[in-house]
Each structure stands twice: as C-alpha cells, then as structure tokens.
Subunit: 571 residues, 2 copies
C-alpha cells in the first residue's frame, strides 16, 4: 500500500479514538443491557474492519480471503488478543462474555453469536439459491457419480479418521460429525480460479459444478440424518439400537425430501406471494424472512437451521426472483458473512494447538479430507473418459472445505457434541484445504492439455450472433434490447467478466447475452433462439425510429453554436 | 386483498409449519445458546412478516406504516400476545427473556435487542447522510429561526409537561428526557405528503426541510448535553450545582462540535479511505462499520450511540459516496429497521394504559408536543411574510415524532432513567402525532392558496432545456448523457417520481436531470450550466457517430429476412 493510504487510514482512526480520551468515563461493575449493546456495536465495527483488512492482506499473497477472516478471528478472539485486559475493557475487548460465563460452551456473547447465526442462515439460503436446479435435473451421469462417490468416500474417511484418532466407535456423534464436516465442499474458491482461467465450461469445470450440487444436497441430507439419530446415540452410548437409529435416519431423510419437493412444487406460489410486496428490495428481504422462519422451524423440529435455509433457497432458485434476491441482499451479506467467519475463528482456543497431538491430528484429518475427494471424485472419472490430469483437476477442485464445514462444526460445538479440541482440528483442516487448493489447481490448469481422452460435452446451447461495427454501437443496441427484455418481465443480472455478460431469465427461459467489441452474442436453448431473434428485430426497428428522429438534431455543426450560447431560462 | 392472495399466503405458511408437526421434539428446561439462537431466528422471521403485514394494512387506511410496525410490536410483544404460553414456547413466543429475567430493565433478549440497536445506529447514520449539508450552510434565515424556535419551545413544553404531570423538578433526568424527546421531528412522513402533493419546492416545503435540519442537529446537541449532565443530576437529586452542570453541558456541546467539524474537515479523507475498498457495496458496508465504531466510542465516552452514528453520517453526507451508501445499504435497512420499530413497540407494557391517568397524561403530552411545534414554528413565520395558512402548514409539518424520539426514549428506558409508564406515554405521543399529522396536512395543502403574503424564494437554480421530439429519443439521449456523467466520476441516483428524476453529483456539483416526454431539463447552479452544456454537446457528438454507424444496419427491410432466417451457429 502506498504511504498516503496509510496516512489516510491512520488519520481516520485517530478521528475515531479522540472522544474516548476527551470524555472518558469509568464504567460501573454491572454488565447492563446498555453495556452489552455498547460492546456489541464496537465489536461489530472492529470485526468489519479487521476482517476486510486481513482478507485483503491474504489475497495479496494469493491466499483466499476467507482464511484471512478466520485468522483474524483467531487473533482478535477471546483466547488470544481479545482476552488481554485493556483500559475500559477489564476482560479484554472480546473476553467479557467468557470471563463472566466461564462454563459457557461458546466464548462469545449471544448478541454477537446471533449476528453470526443470522449470517449462517443467509449463507445457506444463498447456497440454495445458487443451486442451478435445471442443471441438477439435467446433470450428466458423470457429475452425479463423481458427486456421490466424493461424498461417500469423504464421509467414510472423516468418520474413520475420527475413530482412529480419537479412539471412538463408529456411531458416536463426534465421529459422525467429523464425517459430515469432511463431505462439505466449498466450490466458491475453485469457482473463482476456474473463472479467472476461463475454464468454467471445460468438462472439468462442468463436472465440478455438477458434483458440487450433489455434494451440497447430500451433505444437507447427511446432516439431517445424523442430527435425527443423535438423541438415541447420546442415550445409549456404546450399544446401539440399530433399528431405531435407522428409523430415525429414514425419518430425517423423509422430512428433508418432503420439504424439498413441497418447496419446489410450491415455488411459484411462494414467489407469487413474495411479489405481493412491491419493489425489488422488499420481496428480497421477505424471502430472507421466509428462510429465517423455515430455519428456525427446522431447528425447533430437531434438525438444523441451515437445512431449512437451504431448502428455502433451493425452492426459490428456479423462480425468476432468484437473481433479484441475490443482488438485493448483497449488502446484508457483506455485512453479516465476515462476522460469521471471524466469530468462527474466535471459537478456536489457540492453546489447543500448543499440544503437538492436535496439530498432528489436524494434519492427518486434513490429508484424509483432501485424499478422500481426490480419490473419491478422481477414480470414477478415469472410467468416464477423463485422463489422470482431468481426474486430478476435478479431485483437487472439490477439496476446499469452508463455510458449510464451519457451520456444521459450529452446530456441533454449540450443542456440546464436538469438543473444543476437535473443533480446532476442523478449523485447521478448513484453513489448510482452502489455502492449499488454489496453487495446486492453478498449476494443474496451467498446462493447456485436455483433461479428457476424447471430446466430451456435445454443444447444447445455440449461439446467435449479431455483428455490429463498433463498441459504441454494441453498447447502444444492448441497452435497447436489455430494456425490451426487462419490459417483457425478464430479470437481468450482469456478471463481472472480461466482456459484459448478462444472465437474462424468466421462468424457464435462460438466455446469456455477451457483448463483445464487434457484436452481441446470445446463448440460449435451441427453442428460444426464435424469441431472441424476434426481440432483436424489435430492438432494431425501435432504434431505427429513434435514429430517424435524432438524425437532424445531432448534427454537430448545427448544435455547436446553439449549445455554447445556451438557451437557459431562469426559473 | 383478493382471495387468491390469501390462498397463496395461507399455503406458504402451511408449508412452513409442517416440520414442527412432523418432527416435534420437546425442548429441555435449560436455555442453551442453541435455543437462544433458534428463538432469535424464529422471532426475526415472525417480526419481518408481522411488521410488513401491519405496515401494509395501516397504509391501506392511510396511516403511516411506522405506526403499524409499533402496533405490531405492542400486539406480539411479551406483555401481550407474545407472553401467552404456546406448545413449545412455555413462556410465550416473545416472553422467554422476561420470564427468565424478571428484574430486567428491558423485556426482550439481548440478541434481539442487539439487532434493534444496530438498526438504530443505521437509522441515525442515514439521517446524517440525508442531511443536505450545502442546504444547511445556505439556509434561509427563516428556516433557521423556525427550527430554533420549534426546538426551544418544544423542549420547554416537554420539560414543563413532565414537571407538571409527574411532579418532578426542572433538572430531573426524566423531565429533561421528555423535553429532548419532544424536540425530535420526524420529517419523513411530512416529506412523503409534500412529495405526493408536489409541494416540496413551495416556501412551506423548503422551510420545513430547513427547519428539520436544524431540528436534527439541535436535538442531537441537546441529547449530548443532557447525557453529559445526568451523572451529576443523579447524584445530587434536588439541589443542583448549576456551575458544574453547565460546565458538563458545555463540554458535551464542545465534544459534539469538535467531532462534527473534524468529521466535515476529514470527510474527503474518510471517503478516500473507504474507496480503498473496491466495488460499490464494500465501501458502503465499511462506511457503516465506521458508523458502528464511532457510535460505540461515543457510547463508551458517556454520550450516546446515535450521536456518533449521526456525526459519521453528517461527515459523509457531502462526499460523493453519499448516494452509493444509501443505495447499497437498502436491504440491510429494510431488514433491520422494522425490527427496531417492532422491538420499540414490544417495550410497551399495555397494562400501563389500563390506568386512566397514563392515557390522560399521554394525551396531554401529545397535545403539548403538537402545540409546541405549531406555535413554536408557526408564530415566528407570521413575522416572515407567511400568512396563517402557511404558518399552520409548517407547524403541523413539524409535528410528527417517530424514530429519533423512540431511540432517545429507548436510551432512557434501558439506562433506567425513564420509568415504564413514561416510556408508554412517549410511544403514545409518537403514535398519535404520527397518525394525526397526515390528514391535517392533507387538508391544509388541499386549498391551492399561497401560504405567503408575497412571492418568496428567488430562483436560485438555473434550468437548462434540451427539447427532443419523442419519449424514445429522450430515453436514448438521457442514457448516453448519464453514461458520460458516470464516466466523469459522478454518482447518479434515480428518484421515484412521475417523470424520471436523476440526482447527479460529484463533490460540490449537484445537478438534477428531469426527463420529460418532450425533452430533458437540467437544474443546476449557474456556475455549472456550462459544464452541463459541454457534456450534452459531447453526448450529441457521440450519438451522431453511433447513428451514422447504425443507419444502414437498422433499416427494417434489409433486416427482416436476415433475422427470420437466422444466422446461428452451433457451438
């Protein structure tokens, strides 16, 4: 960062700190509601800046920002810097709750944890929304096989590592949780790398995305099953009534399936209901309200919040509200989600890592988690026309575990099902898989070799091209046609890429518009090309009318004098 | 609402309620962190829907939505429906905290109150941002006089009502709070009515807006002074060391003034610092982070959160980030702010109103609050070329008290400075002033008579007109010129009005663009008209080039065949 930036930052913060010095007041011993609120507001402010700062710093050295946020949490958390007494904060800036509630399962206040919880609901709601449901229904057999194999292998490896390392039986909550946690791929980091290297539409990219969908769904189902079974496991300890356990598991799958189907069947009604609220932002906030309700209801019913949030997201994913919601909830997301990651980091008791055993166990668990995906996803691919390079690309692409793993681990910790040591192991694994994946993937994709033994993926979408003379005309025509699409009730979402990409969708129609310097391309299913053409024809007709109207006015010569003299009136 | 809407709503909610029935589990007696979170998430979901539902319902019968949200809070709050035991919620849906903490000053959990607190910081940050600072500096003498007179009179009337009704001395926290609370005009409701009736730029509208700015600033200063003085008042009871009190008050004004000046001086640096974070949403969230920090620091320093939040908003109000922040934080606002109003309503113990005395006191306080503004703002106007009608319009326009009054009352309640009875009185006053103002204002503005004895308001802004033949061409040219403004670093904000209004601003330049069916008008200061003209000239030149490029392509005859045959390629 240039020196001037530091100057700006330091001056901004000096500005913030003066009032305390000027108006210092000694706070009383009681921890009243106002003091809790004061602490909450200060903590949130600090978290937002520390999280962003660390995330930027880590991204500078090519490490995903999430890892920076987790690290920030560990550093400023109650077990480390946040526990050091400061003037005005006798138990440290983040240590008050832990100091006043030494027996608590979580070291942060319910106020702060509440924001993190809301963020986790929002996160899984977004994951649900991002599930490309039509892709899910048309998934290639390869994607399904890879996804299922990856989940099974990593679940088993997770459970097995738990059994071996912690000396616990198979059907123990802690081992089962370690199993579920290691299934949950976070495809975001892989997605960013694929997008940067423009490999999203390669066979590897498509397979990773498809497998990630399967992965999310199966992960949620597994979590439901295990949460359904835990009451019995806790009671009986070692000797397990298998029939009962299986019945409970089946019931959990049943509930999940019922809700997912109901959600999908009712999706149009729900979307219609949300549109009762006018505007763009209000329906989005209401949709999030529904996600909160279903999350709370699922939790109340003994499952987990995130399952409800995911089901609601999935239900709305195929409606035309999808992109509107995602776009509109961005600021809420940017505010809350870093709080979730930082608070997750705060749960880590660093003293856990002073024991070499935990570091060793964490490393083994990490290695197991990576190998499980590389082997589980990679080996089936070798039988599906992928070569070794392709199999490795997909396998490592599925290796990162982040938000979902952390949320599940947090559920385990707060319910007292995971010990603090094991939670530390999970954070360790999550950080390591996330840090190690980008460089490996980068080097695997650097070689411009194909990952398949023959050309896969027959073209499904049709490209319709409209060549145009200049970039300016492209912008002009695209603005007009986007407006026509909007008038027709389409929702439009601009992607950030080299060219201007627009996702244009209404109900089942999904069109991609790509503005290149020399023309506009549309990608759509063959059925929709006629629609695209008619709409473009209309755009051109309207443009022509406008041009005829404007032709005479915009002759620069006739304008210049007029303008420079001006014909302004006093009001 | 049509019957089908009800069907949609009822089916959506059935979908939500099934899991509890299917997977019902009896929750244990302990109130663990997970149970708190479950309750928080459910409560938030319910609050979002009840708040919106009531707000829509109330607006149907022409009552401001805020009143609906407050009413929703009273109805579902722990003192009323929310306290009734339900299966699964033994203390009622909102009653758990009150039942487990019978001695608590506030009847809601810190988790839920935390969201409301964050919302109050966001609210005052937005109020600060919306303060038109250049307007403030160029305020007409009339606006200043009206604002100051309104604040002084309503403060005195508030204090006096408190003294008389509650039999307390002048310098008692409760009376002083009642005074501050009754100063805080909420101009939002008046603003909406003025906008609907297109009276925003009448002498009455301009005076109300100017007075409201003064009102906000003085209200914040008064709050700072009184919070600064309270430690002494509490100690000494009846006999007061006036010198000390005044010294503390002066110190509080000093701190406020110092920060406001510092904030304004550093505003460019702060805005520069925020722009270090790329994108649109991230700087906005970071700006809110700064508001949280300054809010917490002010609270820590013995002042109040909202003062810090307001100062930060005011600092950023004259930077070009202003509209970006307001636009970007919309979803956070729509999520959090209704929670604030509903939670405010929840604080009201309905049993308070069972005593006729409180209703009577509330009515007197309300009447005093309205009269204070009508007389305090109205009488000076009679000496400033307004007639009686104009004076009444401004006076009643300043009468509604909502968010700021509620926040200040909440501060008093949670700090134990206001009793629950007096808090109930304040809510009563806030609801009554808000409900009664719209119909009165409406009828006062219905008469198309002038409110002034002669024509006031010499034209300050200059209108530059660009006539265009059709609405289509207007859209076209405006799109191009908006793009050029954007390229020049301007921030653009579209207002929702009959015509398309755009606020275009960068640093100190403030231009309004109005797209009418027959042309584009710009309103700007005389200094900026040349800039507008040059930019429009550039737009026309660029448009001309594009037209020349497109002229041949868009001839419909030549296109039609081409399109209908299609020139699509398989990918």
């Amino acid at each position: 960062m240039p020196e001037s930036t530091w100057k700006i930052i330091s001056r901004t913060f000096c500005f913030l700190l003066i009032p305390i010095i000027l108006f210092a007041e000694v706070s009383g011993p009681s921890h009243s509601m106002m003091q809790k609120m004061e602490l909450l507001v200060l903590q949130l402010g600090v978290i937002i800046f520390v999280a962003k700062g660390m995330s930027i710093l880590f991204e500078k050295i090519k490490i995903p920002g999430v890892v920076g946020e987790l690290t920030a949490g560990i550093i400023i958390g109650p077990y480390f810097l946040g526990g050091i007494p400061l003037p005005g904060f006798e138990h440290g800036f983040f240590g008050t709750y832990l100091a006043l509630n030494p027996g608590a399962t979580l070291p942060v206040s319910p106020e702060l944890y509440g924001i993190a919880t809301i963020a986790s609901v929002l996160l899984l709601f977004m994951v649900g929304l991002e599930t490309n449901f039509s892709l899910f229904l048309r998934l290639s057999a390869t994607g399904v096989i890879v996804g299922i194999a990856g989940v099974i292998v990593s679940f088993l490896v997770g459970v097995w590592t738990g059994m071996l390392l912690l000396d616990l039986p198979f059907l123990h909550p802690e081992t089962l949780f370690l199993g579920v946690i290691s299934t949950a791929t976070s495809v975001g980091i892989t997605g960013r790398i694929l997008t940067e290297r423009r490999k999203m539409d390669t066979p590897e990219g498509v397979t990773i995305l498809a497998a990630a969908v399967i992965d999310d769904v199966l992960g949620i189902v597994l979590l439901a099953v295990i949460l359904g079974m835990i009451p019995v496991l806790n009671d009986s300890g070692q000797s397990v009534n298998w029939g009962y356990v299986l019945r409970l598991g089946a019931k959990a799958i049943g509930v999940w399936l019922l809700f997912t189907i109901l959600g999908l069947v009712l999706s149009r009604r729900i979307s219609k209901f949300l549109k009762v609220f006018k505007g763009i932002n209000v329906p989005a906030v209401m949709a999030f309200g529904l996600a909160l309700l279903l999350a709370g209801i699922f939790e109340k019913a003994g499952l987990a919040m995130i399952i409800g949030a995911y089901v609601m997201g999935l239900s709305l994913s195929k409606t035309d509200l999808n992109y509107v919601i995602q776009e509109s909830l961005k600021s809420l997301y940017l505010f809350a989600v870093p709080v979730f990651f930082v608070v997750s980091g705060m749960m880590v008791d660093l003293s856990v890592f002073s024991s070499r055993t935990i570091i060793f166990l964490g490393l083994i668990y990490t290695l197991g988690a990576i190998l499980a995906k590389v082997l589980g996803c990679g080996i089936p691919l070798l039988f599906r026309k992928f070569n070794l390079l392709g199999a490795l690309r997909v396998g490592f692409g599925m290796a990162p575990r982040a938000e979902v793993a952390l949320i599940i681990a947090g559920i385990g910790l707060s319910a007292g099902l995971l010990s603090r040591d094991v939670f530390g192991m999970v954070i360790f694994m999550s950080m390591l898989t996330t840090v190690s994946t980008p460089p490996i993937l980068d080097s695997l994709f650097k070689k411009e070799k194909n990952g398949t033994t023959e050309e896969l993926l027959p073209a499904e979408n049709v490209v319709t091209e409209f060549p145009l003379p200049t970039l300016e005309t492209v912008e002009f025509v695209s603005a007009k046609s986007l407006q026509l699409f909007r008038d027709e009730g389409f929702f439009i979402n601009q992607m950030e890429m080299a060219h201007k990409y627009y996702h244009i969708r209404k109900n089942d129609i999904f069109i991609t518009m790509i503005c290149k310097p020399n023309g506009i391309n549309f990608e759509s299913s063959p059925d929709d090309t006629q629609y695209v053409k008619t709409l473009m024809y209309e755009s051109f007709v309207e443009l022509n009318e406008i041009i005829n109207d404007l032709k005479d006015i915009t002759k620069p010569e006739s304008l210049k004098n007029d303008f420079m003299e001006g014909k302004d009136d006093k009001r």
